[in-house]
Assembly symmetry: C2
Amino acid sequence: MASKHILIVPGDGIGQEVTAVGKKVLDKIAAKFGHTFTYDEALIGHVAIEATGNPLPDESLEKMRKSDAVLFGAVGHPKYDNDPSAKVRPEQGLLKMRKELGLYANLRPIKLFDELLGASSIKPEILKGADILFFRELTGDIYFGEKGRKNNGDTAYDIAEYSRFEVERIARKAFEAARTRRKKLCSVDKANVIETSRLWREVVQKIAKEYPDVEVEHQFVDATAMLLIKDPRRFDVVVTANLFGDILTDEASQIAGSMGMLASASVGDGTGVYEPIHGSAHDITGKGVANPLASILSAALLLDISFGMKAESEAVISAVDKVLKAGFRTRDIADAQTPADKILGTDAIGAEVLKHL
Amino acid sequence: MASKHILIVPGDGIGQEVTAVGKKVLDKIAAKFGHTFTYDEALIGHVAIEATGNPLPDESLEKMRKSDAVLFGAVGHPKYDNDPSAKVRPEQGLLKMRKELGLYANLRPIKLFDELLGASSIKPEILKGADILFFRELTGDIYFGEKGRKNNGDTAYDIAEYSRFEVERIARKAFEAARTRRKKLCSVDKANVIETSRLWREVVQKIAKEYPDVEVEHQFVDATAMLLIKDPRRFDVVVTANLFGDILTDEASQIAGSMGMLASASVGDGTGVYEPIHGSAHDITGKGVANPLASILSAALLLDISFGMKAESEAVISAVDKVLKAGFRTRDIADAQTPADKILGTDAIGAEVLKHL
Ligand SMILES: CC(C)[C@H](C(=O)O)[C@@H](O)C(=O)O
Ligand SMILES: CC(C)[C@H](C(=O)O)[C@@H](O)C(=O)O
């Protein structure tokens, strides 16, 4: 019987549609388990730029700081993508939020619901049983270093940077998680070329001594990109830097059948932020076809990690499972065998999940 | 009836075993087509460090400059990988070679031999017909920028850099290649976050105007890592920066069934270098099981690109095709259906290829 304040930050594109469904699920959980969840909304990204000129208005940041957890949508807009010289961009809001809230650890669980074995482009016999938990570092690396132009704008540069304590804190989180799972940790870097990676490897080797029960391997990012597809079951917990994590987790979405199924938790010093790993997807925005299951599963992570509500979180995951077992799909996770009347839109599949709560 | 001087640079690990087979194929081609190929050898990588203390001795570089083409193996050794503080590393030899020879364009053709449809972890119906040509920029980016430590070694940094002309020249090569193929170019970057990527996108947008017959798309590297697995057939020519190219082409090796099948050509200002995309693979070194087909296909690229010998190059590719059609496989490309007596070692499968020349 807890009382919690949740901030809904839909952002851009399908972010609006999917977080609306995620919120309904939170509402139903509160009703069912006797909690009181209050909500507020805040702007970020393109919609915030349109409204205020700022991709993360101070007001939004204040609201985030004061809330117990944030359910987040997505940011981005093709307008800026096609204009490399744009000075103000939706993504700046996202990056500023991560930095200001100290969200240094981004957890991305990759687990295939059995019913979706057929939805992936990877062979079912390669996928069956795959279960990976990524820890992506989220407030350092080339994302946050100095960047700019020189030589009259003819040369561009970006500085990637990592300090020892930044690697230590994310490595510890990953080792702790590995302990509760299959006790295997794969640390991914490019230590044969990059200095930040050499520091990364050095620190992970050191922290590893504190966790003698966890089996550690170090892989290069190029090899990992290959191994994830070739043999996803060899991985348990994977820990890596911001940029490598961005690339590898998007790739790994294929292990889960579709990007539309993947939730993530960003945690660190304060309020946790929960969001789908998919983006704003403007090509399907407003059509009512976006898959809200990643937002629903983000709500499940929120309940578990920020509120410590295990039973509530499991109720959500099990409801999603039942909907899939009943044969319902959104377009992105349907396959040639899915009957047309089982392919549902955003709200309709959300309603099916609510029925099982 | 040409006379050419080829430098063999086996490097480390299985590099030795596979280039030996690649060289035999070149020899046979010379005999068959009436050319005169002369050879020399040079050291690079760990073997060069052991012999001279230098991962790329001046003598090797001189020999490369003077030869008409280089058949390259691989560099790397676990000894350095596990010691992040090593000052001298095999990879420095490789990077120095690329820089000194001006090898700014790394071509990585990804094409599945029909017989290997079953060898991939990706579903055959997703793969069939996939045919991608990667252009990876090879002498810029975070690989070659300043790197080091500060704060008593507690902070590491790497500078990524690109200048306009570096993007222009690789983009032009990619556009030219797209013209001779399906006329589609995908440029991959992370322009929503990284400044070098914004310059990259700006330049590709500009060069695109010179090639109105080529259809251009810009994708973020994270989305591309996903799309390559989800729908490889949507790609024709892909052009990208050094680090993204490293990751994406290793990943894409799964489209070709195995890394052991993929050849690459590094070209630019002078002598071209031809090498498998696989690494030194110390886990299987000396066991005689390494797949030499990537080295053989690298020899085919060498004949085509550096010597303009189309017929000779096609003879090599067709010989590889016949060996696969006859059911022969190395371990890495065998599947559950491959009879044990068709699984050959490095030299034996090389001998099968020679039979068809
Ligand atoms: C939108 C973009 C800046 C962001 C990132 O690269 O971190 C996204 O791809 C993600 O993974 O959350
Ligand atoms: C060995 C390593 C430095 C190299 C690279 O990253 O370029 C390799 O992975 C490659 O792709 O040729």
